[in-house]
């Protein structure tokens, strides 16, 4: 007992220690972070899915961000200051996402953080952004930004949200493919957006979703889910994410085999980073996919799209120019490029000098209303809603023809508009 007690410091010693530390802090022994000089580089943090279930996206998001950064620095940086990006791996994990955000915002002293895609990571990280009052620009597609679930520090200026995407495309599906739809989707926030908003959008068109099949995003085997698809299904709507997407589409093919099958309408997510020419995917011929940004270079591609494709190192078939088997996540990665364009515009419009101006940056982006198609926005023109912090753009529906995707329908921006569900500008900064 005596030994244990002697290990405990006496009250006097503890008090001495506390007073000593206080004195050191008061006399400025620990210097605070020096304020950035106006010519110092702007540091942007990037929350990167380098490992975990989002790894194939992460690889291409890093390449896209690096290419966009090179372009911006070559053109003089932001407000004449050079720009740096610090990439941190979040393991596609919400808990690590919030930690990485904290590290980038405080330890690394980044002016803002951007780049996250997976909705569970975004939802897990956003509260930290509001706590630290650091702008968080996500490239996530989820409806959680515009729904009001997040906060004033979180914005999505680079990609249309799922609610808008599915609302814009539902009329094509019910008019051309069928009215009785079965949905297969990943069982987390992103998939639930599909479930809720596509079901509503189909009903608004006089169609009906007759079955909803949720699959965990970490699943590796899918055949056992398919018997739940009702026989009277006219359209199978599939969207899947995670490392096993190739297995997922292959097993759909095996399941239907050469027998009768419904029309297939997939979200490109089911095929991102996967070669359509993979053995076992022949059955996809004639099926339709949503694409935000067409993987195969289309005949009417704009000059800006051509320049972007070259800058990020993707060939006309959507693969890396150095490795034809390395297929890009082309339908999503433009959002990183376009978000960086918005960051530049927002910082320059707000006269951003350093971390003290973070709130001014948010207000400057909220004041934006439209982005023109061009080198800053190669995917196409967009409108931006400053109240809901969400961008709205055009969507493409492509058909697999001869093993390639050809755009057969483009939606208008108005097709994807819906009434505001939140006004973030009323929240305090």
């Amino acid at each position: 007992m005596t030994n244990e007690l002697s290990l405990t410091p006496s009250r006097r010693r503890v008090l001495q220690g506390i007073m000593g530390t206080g004195a050191l802090t008061a006399t400025g022994f620990f210097p605070g972070f020096a304020h950035a000089q106006s010519a110092a580089p702007i540091r942007l943090g990037f929350q990167l899915h380098r490992t975990g279930i989002g790894a194939s996206y992460g690889r291409w998001y890093e390449r896209t961000a690096t290419a966009a950064l090179a372009r911006i620095n070559a053109a003089g940086g932001i407000s004449g200051r050079p720009v740096e990006i610090q990439f941190e791996d979040d393991g596609t994990d919400p808990a690590r996402g919030a930690e990485v955000f904290g590290k980038l915002a405080t330890e690394a002293g980044c002016d803002l953080v951007f780049g996250a895609l997976f909705s569970h990571v975004v939802i897990g990280t956003a509260p930290r952004a509001a706590e630290l009052k650091v702008p968080y620009l996500v490239c996530s597609e989820g409806h959680h930004v515009a729904s009001g679930m997040l906060n004033r520090w979180t914005m999505q200026p680079g990609i249309t949200d799922v609610k808008s995407q599915v609302q814009a495309m539902a009329p094509f599906v019910t008019a051309n493919l069928g009215k009785k739809v079965t949905m297969v989707f990943p069982d987390f926030a992103f998939g639930h957006d599909h479930r809720d908003y596509f079901t509503a959008a189909v009903a608004a068109q006089g169609g009906e979703v007759i079955a909803q099949i949720a699959i965990p995003p970490t699943e590796t085997s899918f055949t056992r889910y398919f018997p739940q698809i009702p026989a009277e299904t006219e359209v199978l709507y599939h969207v899947m994410v995670g490392p096993a997407v190739l297995t997922f589409v292959k097993e759909i093919g095996e399941f239907y085999g050469t027998g009768a099958k419904p029309q297939l309408f997939g979200f490109m997510d089911s095929l991102e980073a996967v070669d359509i020419a993979s053995p076992g995917l022949e059955f996809l011929e004639g099926s339709h996919f949503w694409e935000a940004h067409p993987r195969y270079k289309q005949a009417d591609a704009s000059a800006a799209e051509t320049a972007y494709r070259a800058a990020v190192g993707v060939d006309d078939n959507g693969a890396s120019v150095t490795d034809a088997t390395d297929i890009a996540t082309y339908s999503h990665m433009f959002s990183v490029w376009e978000t960086l364009s918005v960051i530049k515009a927002g910082m320059e419009a707000s006269g951003y000098q350093g971390p003290d101006d973070r709130a001014k940056f948010i207000e400057a982006v909220e004041a934006m209303t439209a982005f023109d198609e061009g080198e800053d926005h190669p995917q196409g023109a967009k409108t931006f809603n400053g109240k809901t912090h969400q961008a709205f753009g055009i969507q493409n529906i492509s058909k697999v023809e001869g093993g390639k995707l050809t755009v057969v329908h483009k939606t208008a921006i108005e097709d994807g508009m819906y009434p505001d569900e939140v006004d973030y500008t009323t929240q305090a900064l």
């Binding site: 975990g52 790894a55 590796t220 056992r224 018997p227 490392p243 190739l246 095996e254 027998g259 053995p279």
Partner: protein
Amino acid sequence: MDFGPFLLLALMEGTVTAAVLALTAVGLSLTFGIMRVVNVAHGEFFMLGAVLAWFVTHWMAGPPWLAFSVALLVCPLIVASVAVLADLLVLKRLNYQPEATIVATIGLLYILQQAALSFFGPDARPVAAPFSFRVQLPWFGYSGYKLCVVLAALAVLALVWLLISRTKIGLVMRATQIDRDMARAFGVNVDNVYAGVFGLGAALAAVAAVLVVPIQQAHYLMGGDPLLLSFIVVIIGGLGSLRGTLVAAVLIGLSDGVISTFFAPTLAKIIATLLVALVLVFRPQGLFGKAAA
């Protein structure tokens, strides 16, 4: 889908799961039964087999069946060597103390997983099946390769059974299992037996992985599920009992197939875990295990 075909598909899926699971779990059961080592890194040996299969098939020219056959022979051997090395360098030096070996194999788990992440990368990569034909039933199609996985797994299990019950190696293994000190007194080199058993257990996991990788793709995080399911099977079957392991693998595999097809895969895992809890409460030695002395 009608009830009949629905059930047929569920049973087919369950049989494939059971076959692969049996191979993996028998490996785990051997190391526990003979060495009394709870090998937490068993799932990573499985993953290693799949990842190596990707390397072999990726770098080898020639038809897919040839590359796959080479992978099926070479990968288990490499994985077995890694396991033997781990046994000699780590487990043996810990004198196979149960607590120490659990911690050591947890360390091994992380080393193997991070090594795969460093050298193989974070992506899931497909391995081409040695042949691809679809069995077209009137109600649904099914991968012919999956059915062959079942046959291959049965063949390997038969070989393991022959090895253990009909050869001198098996006799020495069984003697070591029953009484290590007595076996040593009779001149059995127990160290070699342990190293061999640890290698054999890992090799079985690797065989299962090579067989399954054309269905599932290779990924550095794929070792988690096989580890959990193998533990479930080994605990239900009775630690160290091969017969129990096989029966439990069939039970868990089929129920997994049927429950996950008719209801949900998550429910299947819940029920399997519940079953483990019940076995531990009412029959701690497992269905076929001998009661502790």
